[in-house]
Symmetry: C2
Subunit: 386 residues, 2 copies
């Protein structure tokens, strides 16, 4: 496979963007990314989206977005793996270029969630879980994550407050991100007083319902050198792994085995180890997922996923900075777009463009994009080359 | 890109399969394909599906199907482009193997449409069209195809009966396909007396609402030689092209430009011409689409797409046999699965396993899988190697 580089990124602010339709959001992100890359038109477009068929009565986003972006005719498709849709769509773009099938590919993660009622959004999000074995019993997606968090707290005797530093860190980092949904800090007291969503998950353990789009342009290494003067960011590993959708079928409820597997393979493919990673954009849709992702990717021992948060190691300047632009918690979590936002944030860090939130000398970064309660996990390792 | 071969195919019968769930259908097709290929487990699975998020309350089919097939852990994702979902999913599998990222990939097209009311199915199918510019006015998917057919009949002065031979041919071929939904012939009189669905599209111009799954296993050429004694079928070209979703934005309502573009590129990539093609599996979701696809792919002059049907050229033994196992009309059209069924039928022909429907000495075959009213078109050219 050819070496693949990222030569353009784009994103919309995340929020309740009632003035823009799905296709308009996608266009804004893609247009930014294409201008930055200095390309007129990619040969292929992969759209990461989960909810449009239910919330916008719209499937077939590949051709729709390609046309609206002014690229009628190019190859296009939607790639979906619930909340990991953005990550698998990026992987499809990497494969398209890596295989030699195309030279320039675009990926766009886009989601529009705030035009519908919370009831419709909750039932649409539940399609990430097992309809026949979980949702049929009335379990919502947050309820399933709450089961995991409850079990974690019980098994390892971890108090609820141990998760607070994840939310505090995410909100602190989001303050300096103009595209973040929540640009304000929260305190331990705020966290403790937050209303309960699905016990033990409270408001600050959760990411918001929101709209947004992020985009990336990729091309082969040789071409990247001639197209851009910005620091080159290369894809060192792109690995997807899976687990059962339903929690009851998991061998180990607290292991997040797909995250372990995809991280292990990503380290193997890149020849790197956790010690080499300067920034880690985690999938903190719920704070329990941040803890489990840290464990699965080798940054914390089992049952000790909250320790790096407690010890300040996840902060910018710490051992393993996470959610550096606010993460899913602070920046926002437009589900099908999130995997692309994680990559965009990471590229921003690796290029040294993160300003107040810059991780010093960041050269190797990792993202983990999690679909469902861990049924699909996509790990990407990126490297700054110059 | 490495040469990619098809080493296993599988399919369920198509029909109203109320005894089997979505995942069970997918498993049946994948299990057949994997046994035929002689593999235990692929490294990646790509699921082609359009309607499950709406009709089965289930997204995230990649991991779901991978797990149910006994392949927990492998890479998996859903690839969607409306009715072209099966074709784009197969393309993703070809890229995964072609790039060297994996050696063995599986693709499964699966759709379950008959558990819901016709009203729900009609509104779900309409998500293939433009929600904001077409469906908002109440246009159903069949109504949009009817606009194209009406325009075609007007523009080229083609009577409705000119389309009858497409349906008659499809039904005749479906008689010998044990997996086809309609294993009975129809006559010109049946066609003429059929009830109107959306004028001028009548019952026999339309494909049925149905359930089904089809699967394919692919691997690199070198590996294929060691794995199977069956005739080797190689992918010579895999090309997706797009057009606007909404008909009103098309430059030319009757040109099917995405089909022209994807066919032209597929010929270029393979170094072949229409004259080299022994079998052509068209996307005859509506008979007008069969005519337009024949024109776009170079088998008929503009406005003369019904001529090959009139002249018997589309029959087995004719110049360009189409819908050889019944096509979407006779075999059935479980939308997200259709692109994979087309490929499975073509492989059956190229291997010489089509029995009563065998096209003699078929060595080069083509499929065209159409999403929406032509907004995404995937063309594949396959070749028998030995």
């Amino acid at each position: 496979m050819r070496d693949v580089c990222i030569i353009g990124i784009g994103q919309t602010p995340i929020g309740e963007l009632w003035d823009y339709s799905l296709r308009e959001l996608a266009f804004q992100a893609l247009d930014q990314a294409a201008r930055e890359a200095g390309i007129e038109r990619p040969e292929a477009l992969f759209v990461g989206n989960m909810l449009a068929p239910r919330l916008s009565d719209q499937a077939h986003l590949g051709a729709l977005v390609a046309d609206f972006a002014g690229w009628r005719g190019i190859e296009a498709a939607t790639v979906e793996a619930a909340c990991a849709s953005g990550g698998v769509a990026f992987q499809a773009a990497v494969r398209a270029v890596g295989s030699g099938a195309v030279d320039v590919a675009a990926v766009c993660g886009v989601e529009k969630m705030t035009d519908d009622t919370p009831e419709l959004v909750t039932s649409a999000l539940a399609t990430a879980a097992d309809a026949d074995y979980e949702c049929v019993h009335g379990a919502s997606f947050v309820a399933l994550n709450a089961l995991i968090m409850r079990r974690y707290m019980h098994e390892y005797r971890v108090p609820h407050e141990a998760f607070a530093p994840f939310s505090i860190n995410a909100h602190r980092n989001a303050m300096n991100n103009p595209n973040a949904m929540f640009q304000r800090p929260i305190t331990l007291e705020d966290y403790q007083r937050a209303s309960m969503i699905s016990e033990p998950i409270n408001l600050y353990d959760s990411s918001p319902i929101c709209d947004g789009a992020a985009a990336i342009i990729v091309c082969p290494l040789e071409m990247a050198r001639s197209l851009t003067d910005r620091p080159l960011v290369r894809v060192r590993a792109s690995v997807t792994a899976t687990d059962s959708l339903d929690l009851a079928s998991r061998r180990d409820l607290l292991a997040l085995e797909a995250a372990q597997l995809s991280a292990r393979k990503a380290y193997e493919k890149s020849g790197l180890t956790p010690a080499d990673v300067d920034v880690f954009e985690v999938h903190d849709a719920f704070s329990i997922m941040a803890a489990l992702s840290l464990e699965a990717a080798g940054f914390a021992e089992r049952g000790r996923g909250t320790w790096p948060a407690r010890d300040g190691e996840i902060a910018i300047g710490g051992r393993i900075p996470i959610s550096t632009m606010g993460g899913l918690k602070g920046r926002g979590h437009p589900v099908g777009a999130t995997g692309v936002y994680e990559l965009v944030d990471l590229v921003t860090q690796l290029r040294g463009e993160a300003e107040a939130n810059q991780v010093k000398n960041a050269r190797i970064g990792m993202t983990q994009n999690i679909g469902g309660t861990g049924a699909t996990v996509v790990t990407h390792i990126l490297e700054r080359m110059n």
